[in-house]
Amino acid sequence: MTFLIALTLFVLAVFLGVELITKVPPTLHTPLMSGSNAISGITLIGAIATAGTDYSWLTNILVLGAVALATINVVGGFLVTHRMLGMFNRKR
């Protein structure tokens, strides 16, 4: 992928993100933040793609750390969002 195509994707996605989020009720501010944070754990696939490309001990440690931390971000983020939203929808 050329840098220009990458930059195009980035700019368009930023505009899209702004449009998506402009009218969020305050009730959803926290779940939106933790849910979108879980999505930013997408760096996990970067970690997975990097694993096994180089076999020096240093990169292996960096990648192991990246996979573990990104997984915490993804799993914990989606799960805690689900837990919070469950409370919002609870009937009295």
């Binding site: 930023v14 998506l20 501010h29 997408i42 793609a49 694993a51 990648v63 996979v67 993804v74 799960l79």
Partner: protein
């Protein structure tokens, strides 16, 4: 194989977009979160297939380790600990991006492989932003968890150090691009890690909602720049979406305080000498009330508005407040909650706490919706909020917080303020609301005070 992976990423990106869209509507939010997590699952599976799971040992070890910690944190942490947890997750995303960036660049840098300037530049951004997100989030976590307490004595020095460290990081990033040596990458990481600490350390508690939202945005941007380094379209798109949504939220928070982002990060409110000024405002005009007085006032009320602030979270008073609400509703009174957008320590903090206490969200009113109707409120109960109900912000153009949108609690027929003392709020300014003729101060711990009111109501 590459086409298959790219198509999988396209599906995943579409799921993220739909997920975020639905996550921003109350009725579809649960579904939105599901779609988001499905998108993530698709992305992981496709990546594993595409790379033929080359580093499967490391991946399995990392996923088991991270998954266990993630599940434990997400299921065990109490709702009162949510701001800290969100801060922590932001930080983990940031450091993960940093590590991926470093692990990608390091082998080539160490072997002296010629790299494109754009790869090095986006790599430098990944490492810089990832590092700031990580340590910034850790400091925010430590402050929210009250591991770091006390006032920062040298905020100006810290801000100056921060600007210096950010400039140093930028210079090291340029050196990395020009000189292409791994030493610059590590130095950049160190400088940016220090910059994250000095960025968040001088920022006070009431400004935390802005900081948390901003770090959320940073964690997305770091993921996106990682995508530039790896040439991975999904990382670029998903990271940019999160970066943008975090930025929108940051600006919503800034607007709710009538301050610019720069002012929150680098400026402090010019707190006046609150002591003397406070005495002049409060002297002889403050009415102290007992729980019985409040109960009697509530007995004749038809409409009650409760205004929660961070103090309610600190006192863990949300369940007591719920019980009071039920008691009042049992007597046929209308009870609403007036929520200021920056009440608490993260965006939506009060909503999460009240949801935990099983208060339906239809009962929570936003500032713009409740303000015009405060005139019809018989009793406004302020619990643990201060600056967000300070009428000076609206009426006194010389006030340090002039122009900050407030909840017009002072327009209610009677105002009950539950508070430990007359000490000023975060802005350090005295609050004339406490000295109004129609205000009763109920001094004490939030939870205990609300429980006393409930008992007094039952004894009437």
């Amino acid at each position: 194989m590459d086409t298959f992976v790219q198509l999988g990423y396209l599906v995943s990106a579409a799921l993220f977009i739909l997920g975020l869209k639905r996550l921003s509507r109350p009725r579809t939010a649960v579904q939105g979160n599901m779609l988001g997590s499905t998108g993530m699952l698709v992305a992981v599976i496709v990546t594993l297939i595409g790379t033929e799971a080359a580093g499967i040992g490391i991946i399995i070890a990392g996923v088991i380790l991270g998954g266990t910690i993630g599940v434990l944190l997400a299921t065990r942490v109490a709702m009162t600990g949510m701001p800290q947890l969100v801060a922590l997750f932001n930080g983990f995303g940031g450091i993960a991006s940093l590590l991926v960036g470093a692990a990608t660049l390091y082998p080539d840098l160490a072997e002296g492989v010629e790299l494109e300037a754009t790869d090095l530049a986006t790599g430098a951004l990944t490492i810089g932003i990832g590092a700031i997100t990580f340590t910034g989030s850790l400091v925010a976590f430590a402050k929210l968890q009250e591991l770091l307490t006390g006032d920062i004595t040298q905020p100006a020095a810290l801000r100056a150090a921060n600007i210096g460290l950010v400039a140093m990081s930028a210079a090291l990033g340029v050196l990395l691009v020009v000189m292409s040596g791994s030493i610059w990458m590590w130095l950049l990481a160190l400088a940016a890690l220090a910059a994250g600490i000095t960025l968040v350390l001088p920022i006070g508690g009431a400004d935390m909602p802005v900081v948390i939202a901003l770090l959320n945005s940073f964690s997305g941007v770091a993921a996106s720049t990682t995508g530039f380094v790896l040439g991975n379209s999904l990382l670029i798109i998903a990271g940019a979406l999160v970066g943008a949504s975090g930025l929108v939220l940051t600006l919503i928070m800034c607007r709710a305080m009538n301050r610019s982002l720069g002012n929150v990060l680098f400026g402090a409110i010019d707190a006046v000498a609150a002591g003397a000024d406070g005495d002049r405002i409060y002297d002889g005009k403050v009415t102290s009330a007992s729980a019985d007085d409040v109960a009697m006032m509530l007995d004749t009320a038809a409409k009650v508005a409760i205004i929660p602030g961070y103090g309610m979270a600190v006192a863990q008073a949300q369940h007591a407040v719920r019980d009071l609400t039920r008691a009042l509703e049992g007597q046929g009174k209308e009870v609403v909650f007036a929520i200021h957008p920056v009440a608490g320590r993260m965006p939506g903090h009060m909503n999460v706490l009240l949801a935990e206490a099983e208060i339906p969200y239809e009962q929570l009113k936003e500032m713009e919706h409740i303000n015009p109707s405060f005139g019809q409120v018989d009793v406004a109960i302020v619990i643990g909020a201060n600056d967000v109900v300070n009428p000076d912000a609206r009426d006194d153009p010389d006030s340090p917080i002039a122009g900050m949108p407030i909840l017009d609690a002072d327009r209610a027929r009677t105002v009950v303020v539950i508070k430990r003392s007359l000490s000023p709020g975060f802005a350090g300014v005295p609050n004339p609301l406490f000295a109004l003729d129609n205000t009763m101060m109920l001094f004490g711990d939030g939870k205990a005070a609300v429980e006393e009111i409930i008992t007094a109501l039952a004894d009437l």
